[in-house]
Subunit: 369 residues, 2 copies
Amino acid sequence: MEVVHLTDPLKLACGYSLAEHVLCVETYGQLNRSKSNAVLICHALTGSHHAAGWHVGDKKPGWWDDVIGPGKSIDTDQFFVVSPSNIGTCHGSTGPLSINPKTNSTWGPNFPKLHISDWTASQRMLMDHYKIKCWAAVVGGSLGGMQAMHWSVTYPDRLLSAVVIASAMKLSAQNIAFNEIARRAIKEDTDFHGGRYQEKNKKPLRGLALARMIGHVTYLSDLSMAEKFGREVLSGDFCNEKLESVKFKIESYLNYQGDKFANGFDANSYILLTKMLDYFDLAREYDNQPSSAFRVATCKFLVLTFSSDWRFPPERSREITKALITAGCDVTHAEITSSLGHDAFLLPNSRYQQIFSTFMRRVASTLER
Amino acid sequence: MEVVHLTDPLKLACGYSLAEHVLCVETYGQLNRSKSNAVLICHALTGSHHAAGWHVGDKKPGWWDDVIGPGKSIDTDQFFVVSPSNIGTCHGSTGPLSINPKTNSTWGPNFPKLHISDWTASQRMLMDHYKIKCWAAVVGGSLGGMQAMHWSVTYPDRLLSAVVIASAMKLSAQNIAFNEIARRAIKEDTDFHGGRYQEKNKKPLRGLALARMIGHVTYLSDLSMAEKFGREVLSGDFCNEKLESVKFKIESYLNYQGDKFANGFDANSYILLTKMLDYFDLAREYDNQPSSAFRVATCKFLVLTFSSDWRFPPERSREITKALITAGCDVTHAEITSSLGHDAFLLPNSRYQQIFSTFMRRVASTLER
């Protein structure tokens, strides 16, 4: 992991500026002589720079290890992969846990509101740090796919291809509703203290666990939960509950996932990032015409979606592809059959990996060596 | 409203007995001379005896006023409609807010765990109170539909017809997951005090509001939320968030609904009733063969479902009907096209009302006068 110090001011969409900021970055593979083989990985809501491989103490590898590595879809024998933690997150890059130089205390809840354009602008600065002129590909799932789309219309001459997986051009009211419930759960935890919990030496663990549990259910599908847990009982007896009540396996699993997450994530970051998701609307500045937005894009697109994803359902991806076609863009679209819901983009699936690999091999074949 | 005092002991499925209990009941229409025209209304999770008409101070009528009344699907010119609040609820019937005669204090969190069979057993006692031998129909949506199915297999000679709307023979893992998140939100509210909040003169309003917000999103559909709220902004400006952050209309609506509910419902009841939903499994005692369960049923069935209901999707109703057909039962099945999600069963819809009315008219036509 490398800590990249970016010393130019970053003007944010909300009106504030960051005089300087740092990004924690992992890279995999080798940058070729002509610096043409770089791939930018855009992480999703709770992702980080640790996308692939193993760190000392890891119980599992980086979050996209199934996709990034030698011989994998993003083949590190072919590509130089750049994976930053973006600003506002809580894994070392500038965010609510960082020191605000103006106050000499942590930003906490006062970290500026972020938009996806702020992430792509920061990634654009990171590009200069590596002296990369053009990404071979900008790639991401979910919130990561939004960044890839934003790159394609904001810096059209700076990428050859965009891979947009399990994503949407904007959230639906239902998406926003789940995010708002998560935020309220955090804010109403009595240990939240209006976001100033660090000063009180507290963490709103209960609220953050609830937020994650809500999110987690929306990442899975009804079918995958039925297959994995069904109505399996962990303890208790339906016919005699004098001693203990019946507990289902799914309840225990979900509580465990919530607690684990709460201990490793920052509540102010969670609020900030869910708001960023809510705010994104690719076509807002283009008269709400997605095809107008994509009119400036020149890269090739791969749009992938999963049949059982109800958080960003296939219909959202079809809208992206329809807008791309209307705008005259070169797009490959595939809907992958999967029971694994939104999480499918993080998990092995032979058709997914095959289509993704084929697309990336074609990208590699066009690169200047 | 009538308070019916039932003085026979009620042996509960969990092993406990209630020596006596009270049910608050509303009735609509007139019981005919042969007492053949009675219809039992089974309420859903947060329902009450107040199913139809207006009370002094009501801002809206009873929760099923679109269905129950003169000339409506459950025509009170034809039927005598009996609508109890079931035990464990918080609207006056015996429940966590009642006094436990053994301790002389409120039951609170120690109210016995409930199963749907306890509700139908209590309703069976209510039947004797009115000297009704056989219901013309037992009718309910969601959790209410589960009661109607349970009636059909437990007291098969005590009903002529069962109307099962937007229901399921058991919850899915996803359903249980949402219920568990709601329960955890309540239990982790620092005002919950292990359920003993009344003694502390507190109410876990924040937890209960969150629980309702989660439930509420699952009662609506993605489409209905898109149609009603979309991404409409209530306040704030995406381009200048120095003063305030952007607030979407859906956020405000959902928070309002949560707070309103929290002020009118009891947290211990909510935990109890969601557990009851989770526990229900019609076929558990029938070797997990739903058709074996229905084999004893002799009544006519109407099974209704709504196309956009993802809490109890059409597939769950098709499973019910398939089991009924396998068991040789007389069943009418209809899937109603609606964008309104699970809540559709509470709302006007001409095809829904027409099919429901036709079925009930046929029931009425067979009754002894």
